[in-house]
């Protein structure tokens, strides 16, 4: 079978397996939520509401039905792409909740990933190209420290330094409440404000985005730094690099044009894996910085046992991770001709 056909076959297989994977995830989420102690009626009404009110709420929400029937209803809804209605913001469909909160998470994720890539690849390259020097040791330390630092702790330290002490950045939130938030089709404040040509809004959005994305980005950059440093060091010892040196090609050109692009291939794979960490890390970053994203909403929904919202958001995250991993696999196949399927 030719490589392109094998790749097509692989993509189709992955796409066909994706619904099965999502069904497994949704089932696990459904069962785990029901196994968690606590009851949405208690969480929503509070402990003091009369039992009759709780019973009525359970009936309204369909929580009085047998578990298998609840599961069938849930799967039926999923097949119709209906994620249900939030139990806490009653009357609001979960899709609307996702639409309301996801842009904030997406903006933070994209910005953090950009910072992680720039910082990680930059420091990794610098470290690998100067073995045994201060840059090498510094790069190693940077990788270990950023990899091991807790996200919330780093966030709070940055808040204390840059917001409380220096007053350079806001402590949190996505936008200043004293300004009307940008309105636009993307929901990404930086993009929407630019599209509407409002630079005050753009800089305000950027000002608010800086610290949370820096926290998440710098902490994730450690992963890329380590991979780039290790791979680049190996590549720089490869025969074709030696051959290039023998031909008198300048070291910088060898590094950037020949070695780095090969060393970056594993970064693409890790990029996909980091996506899941990014969404996980987003919960802590969003809570620390009062960032009104979907991860923060998920945390809230879990506390309130808002089953439809938790299920909907997790399935949505799962879809993102599955799609991202498929795309990364495809990209890998195109970039690296050695990969076989």
């Amino acid at each position: 079978m030719s490589r392109s056909k094998a790749l097509q076959y692989y993509i189709i297989t992955r796409l066909l397996l994706a619904p099965l994977m999502l069904l497994t995830i949704t089932t696990i989420v459904f069962l785990l939520l029901r196994a968690t102690p606590g009851d949405p009626a208690d969480a929503i009404l509070g402990g003091h509401a009369p039992e009759s009110a709780k019973q009525e709420l359970r009936k309204q929400l369909g929580l009085d039905l047998p578990l298998w029937l609840q599961y069938l209803n849930y799967i039926g809804q999923m097949l119709r792409l209906d994620l249900g209605t939030s139990l806490t913001s009653r009357g609001q469909p979960v899709w609307e909740v996702i639409g309301q909160y996801f842009p904030a998470t997406a903006e933070l994720a994209v910005c953090s990933m950009a910072i992680a890539l720039i910082v990680g690849i930059g420091i990794g390259t610098l470290s690998a190209s100067r073995p045994g020097t201060f840059f090498d040791v510094g790069g190693r330390l940077f990788g270990i420290i950023t990899y091991s630092l807790p996200m919330f702790w780093m966030g709070m330290v940055l808040q204390l330094i840059f917001s409380v002490q220096l007053g350079w950045f806001p402590l949190g939130t996505r936008f200043s409440s004293s300004l009307p938030a940008p309105v636009g089709i993307t929901g990404l404040y930086t993009i929407d404000s630019l599209l509407s040509g409002n630079f005050i809004q753009f800089f305000t959005a950027l000002h608010h985005l800086a610290l949370p994305s820096l926290t998440l980005g710098v902490l994730l950059s450690g992963i890329f730094e380590r991979i780039v440093r290790v791979n680049l060091k190996q590549t720089l010892r490869a025969d074709y690099v030696e051959a290039a040196r023998a031909r008198g090609i300048p070291e910088r050109k060898i590094l950037i044009s020949h070695a780095l692009k090969n060393a970056l291939i594993p970064v693409i794979t890790v990029l996909g894996l980091t996506f899941a960490s990014l969404l996980g890390g987003a919960i802590l970053t969003e809570v620390t910085f009062s960032w009104p994203g979907l991860a923060n909403k998920l945390y809230e929904a879990i506390s309130l046992r808002d089953y439809p919202t938790v299920q909907g958001v997790l399935v949505f995250f799962a879809v993102i991770v599955v799609v991202a991993s498929i795309l990364i696999d495809i990209l890998n196949a195109y970039v690296d001709p050695r990969i076989k399927y």
Binding site: P37, L171, S177, V287, P292
Partner: protein, 552 residues
């Protein structure tokens, strides 16, 4: 040509450009737009609100779940509904007495105490310009009951029918006598809403809009901020400010720091006791001011009579005697609360300090004697678990303080074991009777002493042997059952004469202190912090921050 095939020189240029760009951007972003509570410049054309001076920015950690008044039951939602609405009756700040707001007088009550006739104000319009009248109020109450929202049980259990008996006259018939009914009409959720904007039907809620008659209308409801504009057709006194921006923070630490850095004008709910102490101590510098008000929230201990050894009155008495409220006020709450000696707070004139008179504070010898009489000793100690939800650091500290007290002062006759549990699980288990002792607090639904008594002590079905099987005390986890108490509660609910009612409440409090299903601990004080130059900050007795009087 691909990115990788660019020459070294071009890569160098790109790197330099990017570095310079990032540096410039960092400088512009960090130095350019400092956080400010005022917005001197006008903004985009998409803005649907004015952002000039005179707007007040309030910081809070209380995120509203919904703005639909028929489903709003938490402080966060009710506080906003309160400020965007009017009720038939309301409270004067600092008082628990109701006064008419959209009603023009107190209700006329029929001889049998079942029919309430309420005259309504004319010339009031909703935010969507629909006129307010008795039909709109009828619609509101029917929707409140019919849609089955969180607080619907408040009226559902009481109201039989509601009818507009004139353009501006409303008649409400009750299922049973309930003397505190007018106070129930002051509940923020029972505010008139435009019949054009809402509909009646189970579960038909509109969580993201609000169309009422109050001094502010909703301009924007975002995930982390809300904006309220002044309603220019408001019938009453106009607000002292030109609008409110509400900034929602995810943690007390963020609220504390946001206020200290001047990003919000007012900080209200919820700061931790040590943060309040810090801000209160530094008010002398003059950067901000602290406004305190007596709160209506009570914290208490539930004693489950169905769990051994709490089934013995002497053990319950011993636990009551050893509690040292002044110590808890000092060590746990830094003086930010008032010791409470009845389940009814001191704000009500029916309050009696029954627990102080009967048991006092920190009477360890008495406690030891009671436990010894009950058959406990150092070799055979009374072991009790204290449970509390993890979401409350204050209750965690209170539990630890009580444990330390028992360990140090009770010579091993009494042993407390403290057990934190996640909130949703905690509330699930309280009414199942799983906890011998639980630490809880109570946010009143309406301001009447009945609301601190009936939900805790009333029992519809039960016996002396089994305790309460169905009713308030089962729901609250004490499983208290007393025929005498049930009768007293029924009497106070029927009695319209305030003096006679006061006597009944005195008897109820005495009986409660004798049987000890609950031990009152403290009554919160509410704290608001406002930056220098901000004035008119007030709280109503139901813990709502009053927006319209704030100015700067």
């Amino acid at each position: 040509m691909t990115w990788f095939s660019l020459s070294v020189r071009r890569w160098g240029r790109i790197t330099k450009f990017l570095s310079l760009f990032c540096l410039c951007l960092f400088l512009v972003v960090s130095c350019g737009t400092r956080q400010s509570t005022t917005t001197p410049t006008s903004t985009s054309s998409s803005a649907n609100t004015t952002t000039g001076d005179g707007r007040i920015t309030i910081g809070t950690t209380q995120k509203p779940r919904t703005l639909d008044p028929s489903d709003a039951y938490e402080l966060a939602s009710l506080g906003l509904v309160y400020n965007m609405s009017d009720r038939l009756y309301t409270y004067e700040p600092g008082s628990t007495e109701i006064k008419p707001q959209l009603a023009t007088a107190l209700p006329k009550v029929s001889q049998d105490g079942l029919t309430y006739t309420i005259p309504l104000r004319q010339g009031v319009v909703f935010h969507d310009n629909t006129p307010f009248n008795a039909k709109a109020m009828e619609f509101t109450i029917q929707r409140f009951i019919g849609n089955g929202g969180k607080p619907s049980f408040l009226l559902k259990d009481v109201v039989d029918s509601v009818k507009a008996t004139g353009d501006y006259e409303l008649t409400i018939k009750l299922k049973k006598q309930f003397a505190a009914f007018p106070s129930l009409l002051a509940f923020s959720g029972v505010c008139p809403i435009s019949p054009k904007a809402y509909e009646i039907g189970t579960g038909k809620f509109k969580p993201n809009i609000f169309v009422g008659t109050g001094p502010y209308k909703l301009a924007n409801f975002g995930p982390d901020s809300l904006r309220f504009d002044v309603f220019d057709k408001y019938w009453g006194d106009k607000p002292a400010n030109s609008g409110i921006n509400l900034q929602i923070l995810s943690s007390p630490a963020n609220l504390f720091n946001t206020f200290r850095t001047g990003a919000v004008d007012v900080a209200y709910l919820s700061l931790e006791p040590d943060q309040i102490r810090n801000l209160e101590e530094s008010t002398t510098r003059g950067d901000w001011q602290a406004i305190t008000a007596q709160g209506s929230v009570v914290s208490y201990m539930v004693l489950n009579r169905n769990q051994k050894p709490l089934d013995q009155l002497k053990v319950r008495q011993a636990v009551t005697a050893l509690i040292d409220r002044p110590l808890i006020m000092q060590r746990v709450l830094y003086g930010q609360a008032e010791a409470l000696y009845s389940m009814v707070p001191t704000t009500f004139n029916v309050y009696q300090s029954v627990f102080k008179d009967k048991y006092g504070d920190g009477h360890f010898d008495q406690a030891k004697q009671l436990l010894t009489t009950a058959g406990f000793s150092k070799a055979n100690p009374a072991k009790l678990q204290i449970w509390y939800p993890t979401s409350s650091p204050t209750r965690a500290l209170a539990a630890q303080t009580l444990k330390a007290l028992a360990d140090q002062k009770m010579d091993g006759i009494l042993q407390f074991e403290i057990s934190p549990v996640e909130s949703a699980t905690f509330f699930k288990n309280v009414d199942q009777g799983l906890y011998p002792i639980a630490l809880l607090d109570w946010y009143p639904d309406f301001l009447d002493a009945d609301n601190y008594i009936q939900p805790f002590l009333d029992c519809q079905k039960g016996s002396d042997a089994k305790g309460c099987e169905e009713g308030g005390s089962q729901n609250e986890g004490s499983f208290y059952y007393s025929e005498a108490m049930n009768k007293l509660i029924a009497q106070e609910r029927q009695e319209q004469n305030p003096e006679a009612r006061k006597k009944i409440f005195a008897a109820i409090q005495t009986l409660e202190a004798t049987d000890i299903p609950y031990i009152p601990l403290w009554q919160d004080k509410d704290y608001v912090f406002a930056r220098k130059g901000v004035s008119g900050v007030q709280l109503d007795p139901t813990q709502n921050l009053i927006y319209k009087t704030i100015k700067k």
